[in-house]
Symmetry: C2
Subunit: 176 residues, 2 copies
Protein backbone atom coordinates (compact mmCIF):
# COMPACT_ATOMS: atom_id res chain seq x y z
CA UNK A 1 0.00 0.00 0.00
CA UNK A 2 1.28 3.45 -0.93
CA UNK A 3 0.09 6.23 1.36
CA UNK A 4 0.39 9.92 0.49
CA UNK A 5 -0.97 12.95 2.31
CA UNK A 6 -2.22 16.30 1.10
CA UNK A 7 -2.61 19.26 3.44
CA UNK A 8 -5.26 21.78 2.39
CA UNK A 9 -6.69 25.01 3.72
CA UNK A 10 -3.87 26.00 6.05
CA UNK A 11 -3.30 29.64 6.82
CA UNK A 12 0.18 31.06 6.40
CA UNK A 13 2.20 31.52 9.62
CA UNK A 14 -0.74 30.74 11.94
CA UNK A 15 -0.85 27.09 10.85
CA UNK A 16 2.86 26.54 10.14
CA UNK A 17 3.63 24.70 13.33
CA UNK A 18 0.57 22.46 13.04
CA UNK A 19 1.39 21.76 9.38
CA UNK A 20 4.94 20.79 10.39
CA UNK A 21 3.53 18.34 12.94
CA UNK A 22 1.16 16.93 10.28
CA UNK A 23 4.17 16.34 8.01
CA UNK A 24 6.15 14.71 10.83
CA UNK A 25 3.26 12.37 11.59
CA UNK A 26 2.92 11.47 7.91
CA UNK A 27 6.64 10.60 7.82
CA UNK A 28 6.80 8.72 11.12
CA UNK A 29 3.61 6.74 10.39
CA UNK A 30 4.62 5.34 7.01
CA UNK A 31 3.39 7.79 4.37
CA UNK A 32 5.89 8.46 1.57
CA UNK A 33 4.99 12.04 0.67
CA UNK A 34 3.07 15.14 1.64
CA UNK A 35 1.73 17.75 -0.75
CA UNK A 36 1.07 21.23 0.55
CA UNK A 37 0.07 24.66 -0.75
CA UNK A 38 0.79 28.23 0.40
CA UNK A 39 3.42 27.05 2.72
CA UNK A 40 6.44 28.40 4.56
CA UNK A 41 9.52 26.92 2.79
CA UNK A 42 11.09 26.30 6.18
CA UNK A 43 8.78 23.34 6.69
CA UNK A 44 10.51 21.52 3.84
CA UNK A 45 13.93 22.29 5.36
CA UNK A 46 12.78 20.99 8.73
CA UNK A 47 11.61 17.69 7.26
CA UNK A 48 14.79 17.27 5.20
CA UNK A 49 16.87 17.81 8.30
CA UNK A 50 14.82 15.14 10.12
CA UNK A 51 15.41 12.74 7.19
CA UNK A 52 19.16 13.31 7.37
CA UNK A 53 19.26 12.52 11.08
CA UNK A 54 16.57 9.86 11.44
CA UNK A 55 16.59 8.31 7.95
CA UNK A 56 14.13 7.53 5.19
CA UNK A 57 13.10 9.31 2.01
CA UNK A 58 9.89 11.11 2.98
CA UNK A 59 9.29 14.02 0.63
CA UNK A 60 7.51 17.37 0.80
CA UNK A 61 6.13 18.66 -2.49
CA UNK A 62 4.81 22.20 -2.87
CA UNK A 63 1.79 22.54 -5.15
CA UNK A 64 -0.34 25.36 -6.54
CA UNK A 65 -3.73 23.66 -6.52
CA UNK A 66 -4.86 20.87 -4.21
CA UNK A 67 -7.79 20.15 -6.52
CA UNK A 68 -5.72 19.24 -9.55
CA UNK A 69 -3.62 16.86 -7.44
CA UNK A 70 -6.70 15.16 -5.98
CA UNK A 71 -8.29 14.79 -9.42
CA UNK A 72 -5.10 13.45 -10.97
CA UNK A 73 -4.52 10.93 -8.16
CA UNK A 74 -8.08 9.64 -8.24
CA UNK A 75 -7.21 7.09 -10.96
CA UNK A 76 -4.78 5.19 -8.80
CA UNK A 77 -5.56 6.27 -5.24
CA UNK A 78 -8.63 6.20 -3.05
CA UNK A 79 -9.18 9.66 -1.62
CA UNK A 80 -9.71 9.68 2.16
CA UNK A 81 -10.84 12.98 3.66
CA UNK A 82 -10.47 13.39 7.42
CA UNK A 83 -13.40 15.31 8.91
CA UNK A 84 -15.14 15.18 12.27
CA UNK A 85 -18.42 14.87 10.35
CA UNK A 86 -17.45 11.65 8.54
CA UNK A 87 -18.08 7.95 9.15
CA UNK A 88 -16.62 6.64 12.39
CA UNK A 89 -13.14 5.16 11.92
CA UNK A 90 -14.18 2.25 14.16
CA UNK A 91 -16.63 1.14 11.46
CA UNK A 92 -14.45 1.62 8.40
CA UNK A 93 -10.80 0.94 9.34
CA UNK A 94 -10.75 -2.68 8.20
CA UNK A 95 -12.20 -1.77 4.79
CA UNK A 96 -9.65 1.02 4.34
CA UNK A 97 -6.85 -1.38 5.22
CA UNK A 98 -7.72 -3.44 2.14
CA UNK A 99 -7.35 -0.57 -0.34
CA UNK A 100 -4.28 -0.46 -2.55
CA UNK A 101 -3.23 3.21 -2.48
CA UNK A 102 -4.53 6.04 -0.32
CA UNK A 103 -4.30 9.80 -0.66
CA UNK A 104 -5.27 11.28 2.70
CA UNK A 105 -6.67 14.81 2.69
CA UNK A 106 -5.94 16.73 5.89
CA UNK A 107 -7.85 19.98 6.19
CA UNK A 108 -7.35 22.94 8.50
CA UNK A 109 -10.25 24.76 10.20
CA UNK A 110 -12.10 25.59 7.00
CA UNK A 111 -12.12 23.28 4.01
CA UNK A 112 -13.81 23.74 0.64
CA UNK A 113 -17.13 21.90 0.41
CA UNK A 114 -16.09 20.19 -2.81
CA UNK A 115 -13.73 17.88 -1.00
CA UNK A 116 -16.65 16.00 0.56
CA UNK A 117 -17.79 15.06 -2.94
CA UNK A 118 -14.36 14.38 -4.41
CA UNK A 119 -13.46 12.02 -1.55
CA UNK A 120 -14.10 8.28 -1.77
CA UNK A 121 -14.25 8.21 2.04
CA UNK A 122 -15.07 10.96 4.53
CA UNK A 123 -13.78 9.63 7.85
CA UNK A 124 -14.25 10.92 11.38
CA UNK A 125 -11.72 10.05 14.07
CA UNK A 126 -14.55 10.24 16.55
CA UNK A 127 -17.06 13.07 16.27
CA UNK A 128 -15.53 15.51 18.73
CA UNK A 129 -13.17 18.35 17.81
CA UNK A 130 -9.48 17.63 18.39
CA UNK A 131 -6.61 18.09 15.95
CA UNK A 132 -5.70 17.26 12.37
CA UNK A 133 -2.41 15.94 13.77
CA UNK A 134 -4.08 13.35 16.00
CA UNK A 135 -6.66 12.51 13.32
CA UNK A 136 -3.97 11.66 10.77
CA UNK A 137 -2.02 9.62 13.33
CA UNK A 138 -5.02 7.50 14.32
CA UNK A 139 -6.02 6.87 10.72
CA UNK A 140 -2.51 5.70 9.78
CA UNK A 141 -2.19 3.56 12.92
CA UNK A 142 -5.54 1.86 12.41
CA UNK A 143 -4.94 1.16 8.70
CA UNK A 144 -1.50 -0.30 9.30
CA UNK A 145 -2.31 -1.91 12.66
CA UNK A 146 0.83 -0.53 14.29
CA UNK A 147 3.18 -2.13 11.74
CA UNK A 148 4.51 1.31 10.80
CA UNK A 149 6.41 1.31 14.09
CA UNK A 150 8.33 -1.85 13.19
CA UNK A 151 9.85 -0.48 9.97
CA UNK A 152 13.37 0.88 9.88
CA UNK A 153 14.27 4.14 8.17
CA UNK A 154 17.16 3.67 5.73
CA UNK A 155 20.32 5.72 6.07
CA UNK A 156 19.64 7.03 9.58
CA UNK A 157 22.49 8.76 11.39
CA UNK A 158 20.77 8.09 14.70
CA UNK A 159 18.59 5.21 15.72
CA UNK A 160 16.73 4.85 18.99
CA UNK A 161 16.81 1.54 20.83
CA UNK A 162 13.58 1.51 22.88
CA UNK A 163 14.34 1.35 26.59
CA UNK A 164 12.52 1.44 29.93
CA UNK A 165 14.46 4.37 31.47
CA UNK A 166 16.53 7.10 29.88
CA UNK A 167 17.82 7.30 26.31
CA UNK A 168 19.62 4.71 24.22
CA UNK A 169 20.67 5.97 20.80
CA UNK A 170 22.85 4.22 18.20
CA UNK A 171 24.91 6.81 16.36
CA UNK A 172 26.12 5.87 12.89
CA UNK A 173 29.23 7.98 12.42
CA UNK A 174 30.16 6.57 9.05
CA UNK A 175 27.40 8.19 7.08
CA UNK A 176 29.00 11.63 6.66
Amino acid sequence: MVIEVIRIGQRLVRDDRVTTHVALVARAFGATKIFMTEVNPEIKDTIEKINRTWGGNFTVEFIDSWKSIVKKKKDEFKIVHLTMYGENINDIASQLGKEENLLIVVGAEKVPREIYELADYNIGIGSQPHSEISALAILLDRIQKGEQFLRSFAGAKRKIIPTKKGKNVLVNETRD
Copy 2:
Protein backbone atom coordinates in the same frame (compact mmCIF):
# COMPACT_ATOMS: atom_id res chain seq x y z
CA MET B 1 -10.12 3.46 34.44
CA VAL B 2 -9.53 7.14 35.19
CA ILE B 3 -7.16 8.88 32.81
CA GLU B 4 -5.62 12.27 33.50
CA VAL B 5 -2.96 14.15 31.56
CA ILE B 6 -0.22 16.53 32.63
CA ARG B 7 1.53 18.82 30.16
CA ILE B 8 5.07 19.77 31.13
CA GLY B 9 7.89 21.84 29.68
CA GLN B 10 5.91 23.96 27.27
CA ARG B 11 7.19 27.37 26.32
CA LEU B 12 4.84 30.32 26.65
CA VAL B 13 3.29 31.56 23.37
CA ARG B 14 5.45 29.34 21.12
CA ASP B 15 3.75 26.17 22.39
CA ASP B 16 0.25 27.54 23.08
CA ARG B 17 -1.36 26.16 19.96
CA VAL B 18 0.21 22.73 20.40
CA THR B 19 -0.81 22.68 24.07
CA THR B 20 -4.38 23.53 23.06
CA HIS B 21 -4.38 20.59 20.65
CA VAL B 22 -2.97 18.33 23.39
CA ALA B 23 -5.85 19.38 25.66
CA LEU B 24 -8.41 18.81 22.89
CA VAL B 25 -7.05 15.31 22.27
CA ALA B 26 -7.15 14.52 25.99
CA ARG B 27 -10.80 15.61 26.08
CA ALA B 28 -11.92 13.89 22.86
CA PHE B 29 -10.10 10.64 23.71
CA GLY B 30 -11.60 10.06 27.13
CA ALA B 31 -9.32 11.72 29.69
CA THR B 32 -11.13 13.65 32.42
CA LYS B 33 -8.60 16.36 33.17
CA ILE B 34 -5.42 18.08 32.08
CA PHE B 35 -2.94 19.81 34.39
CA MET B 36 -0.69 22.47 32.94
CA THR B 37 1.90 25.01 34.09
CA GLU B 38 2.97 28.44 32.79
CA VAL B 39 0.10 28.60 30.44
CA ASN B 40 -1.88 31.15 28.53
CA PRO B 41 -5.27 31.45 30.33
CA GLU B 42 -7.00 31.54 26.94
CA ILE B 43 -6.44 27.80 26.61
CA LYS B 44 -8.81 27.19 29.51
CA ASP B 45 -11.44 29.46 27.92
CA THR B 46 -11.10 27.61 24.61
CA ILE B 47 -11.67 24.24 26.26
CA GLU B 48 -14.63 25.49 28.30
CA LYS B 49 -16.21 26.85 25.13
CA ILE B 50 -15.75 23.45 23.48
CA ASN B 51 -17.40 21.77 26.50
CA ARG B 52 -20.41 24.10 26.27
CA THR B 53 -20.92 23.29 22.59
CA TRP B 54 -19.88 19.65 22.38
CA GLY B 55 -20.61 18.45 25.92
CA GLY B 56 -18.82 16.70 28.75
CA ASN B 57 -16.99 17.90 31.85
CA PHE B 58 -13.36 17.84 30.84
CA THR B 59 -11.37 20.20 33.06
CA VAL B 60 -8.19 22.23 32.77
CA GLU B 61 -6.31 22.83 36.01
CA PHE B 62 -3.43 25.29 36.27
CA ILE B 63 -0.61 24.22 38.55
CA ASP B 64 2.64 25.68 39.84
CA SER B 65 4.75 22.56 39.95
CA TRP B 66 4.37 19.45 37.79
CA LYS B 67 6.60 17.52 40.15
CA SER B 68 4.39 17.87 43.20
CA ILE B 69 1.36 16.72 41.16
CA VAL B 70 3.20 13.68 39.82
CA LYS B 71 4.46 12.73 43.29
CA LYS B 72 1.04 13.21 44.85
CA LYS B 73 -0.73 11.17 42.17
CA LYS B 74 1.75 8.29 42.34
CA ASP B 75 -0.23 6.64 45.17
CA GLU B 76 -3.31 6.07 43.07
CA PHE B 77 -2.14 6.45 39.47
CA LYS B 78 0.49 4.79 37.34
CA ILE B 79 2.63 7.47 35.73
CA VAL B 80 3.06 7.06 31.96
CA HIS B 81 5.63 9.31 30.33
CA LEU B 82 5.48 9.68 26.56
CA THR B 83 8.94 9.85 25.01
CA MET B 84 10.36 8.74 21.68
CA TYR B 85 13.09 6.96 23.66
CA GLY B 86 10.68 4.73 25.58
CA GLU B 87 9.43 1.16 25.17
CA ASN B 88 7.48 0.58 21.96
CA ILE B 89 3.74 1.02 22.46
CA ASN B 90 3.18 -2.13 20.36
CA ASP B 91 4.80 -4.18 23.14
CA ILE B 92 3.17 -2.55 26.15
CA ALA B 93 -0.34 -1.41 25.20
CA SER B 94 -2.15 -4.48 26.50
CA GLN B 95 -0.40 -4.25 29.88
CA LEU B 96 -1.26 -0.55 30.16
CA GLY B 97 -4.87 -1.32 29.37
CA LYS B 98 -5.09 -3.39 32.55
CA GLU B 99 -3.98 -0.59 34.89
CA GLU B 100 -6.56 1.11 37.04
CA ASN B 101 -5.70 4.81 36.83
CA LEU B 102 -3.22 6.52 34.55
CA LEU B 103 -1.57 9.93 34.70
CA ILE B 104 -0.03 10.60 31.31
CA VAL B 105 2.91 12.98 31.16
CA VAL B 106 3.17 14.87 27.87
CA GLY B 107 6.43 16.76 27.45
CA ALA B 108 7.41 19.46 25.00
CA GLU B 109 10.80 19.56 23.28
CA LYS B 110 12.86 19.54 26.46
CA VAL B 111 11.77 17.65 29.55
CA PRO B 112 13.52 17.36 32.91
CA ARG B 113 15.52 14.15 33.25
CA GLU B 114 13.82 13.32 36.55
CA ILE B 115 10.60 12.39 34.81
CA TYR B 116 12.21 9.24 33.36
CA GLU B 117 12.80 8.04 36.92
CA LEU B 118 9.49 9.18 38.37
CA ALA B 119 7.52 7.44 35.61
CA ASP B 120 6.25 3.88 36.00
CA TYR B 121 6.30 3.57 32.22
CA ASN B 122 8.33 5.46 29.60
CA ILE B 123 6.53 4.77 26.34
CA GLY B 124 7.53 5.51 22.75
CA ILE B 125 4.86 5.86 20.08
CA GLY B 126 7.39 4.53 17.62
CA SER B 127 10.96 5.79 17.81
CA GLN B 128 10.81 8.54 15.21
CA PRO B 129 10.14 12.21 15.99
CA HIS B 130 6.56 13.36 15.40
CA SER B 131 4.30 15.28 17.78
CA GLU B 132 3.15 15.17 21.38
CA ILE B 133 -0.38 15.56 19.99
CA SER B 134 -0.22 12.38 17.91
CA ALA B 135 1.66 10.52 20.66
CA LEU B 136 -1.08 11.20 23.20
CA ALA B 137 -3.81 10.26 20.72
CA ILE B 138 -2.24 6.90 19.85
CA LEU B 139 -1.63 6.03 23.48
CA LEU B 140 -5.25 6.77 24.45
CA ASP B 141 -6.63 4.93 21.41
CA ARG B 142 -4.52 1.82 22.03
CA ILE B 143 -5.34 1.69 25.75
CA GLN B 144 -9.07 2.06 25.19
CA LYS B 145 -9.17 0.10 21.90
CA GLY B 146 -11.27 2.77 20.18
CA GLU B 147 -14.05 2.64 22.78
CA GLN B 148 -13.54 6.33 23.56
CA PHE B 149 -15.23 7.11 20.23
CA LEU B 150 -18.44 5.35 21.26
CA ARG B 151 -19.05 7.42 24.40
CA SER B 152 -21.45 10.32 24.39
CA PHE B 153 -20.63 13.69 25.93
CA ALA B 154 -23.36 14.80 28.35
CA GLY B 155 -25.11 18.12 27.88
CA ALA B 156 -23.93 18.76 24.33
CA LYS B 157 -25.59 21.59 22.39
CA ARG B 158 -24.44 20.01 19.16
CA LYS B 159 -23.97 16.38 18.30
CA ILE B 160 -22.57 15.03 15.06
CA ILE B 161 -24.27 12.10 13.36
CA PRO B 162 -21.50 10.41 11.36
CA THR B 163 -22.27 10.45 7.65
CA LYS B 164 -20.68 9.49 4.34
CA LYS B 165 -20.95 12.91 2.65
CA GLY B 166 -21.40 16.39 4.07
CA LYS B 167 -22.41 17.35 7.60
CA ASN B 168 -25.21 16.07 9.79
CA VAL B 169 -25.49 17.83 13.14
CA LEU B 170 -28.19 17.49 15.79
CA VAL B 171 -28.72 20.84 17.49
CA ASN B 172 -30.16 20.79 20.99
CA GLU B 173 -31.84 24.20 21.33
CA THR B 174 -33.31 23.58 24.74
CA ARG B 175 -30.06 23.68 26.68
CA ASP B 176 -29.75 27.48 26.94
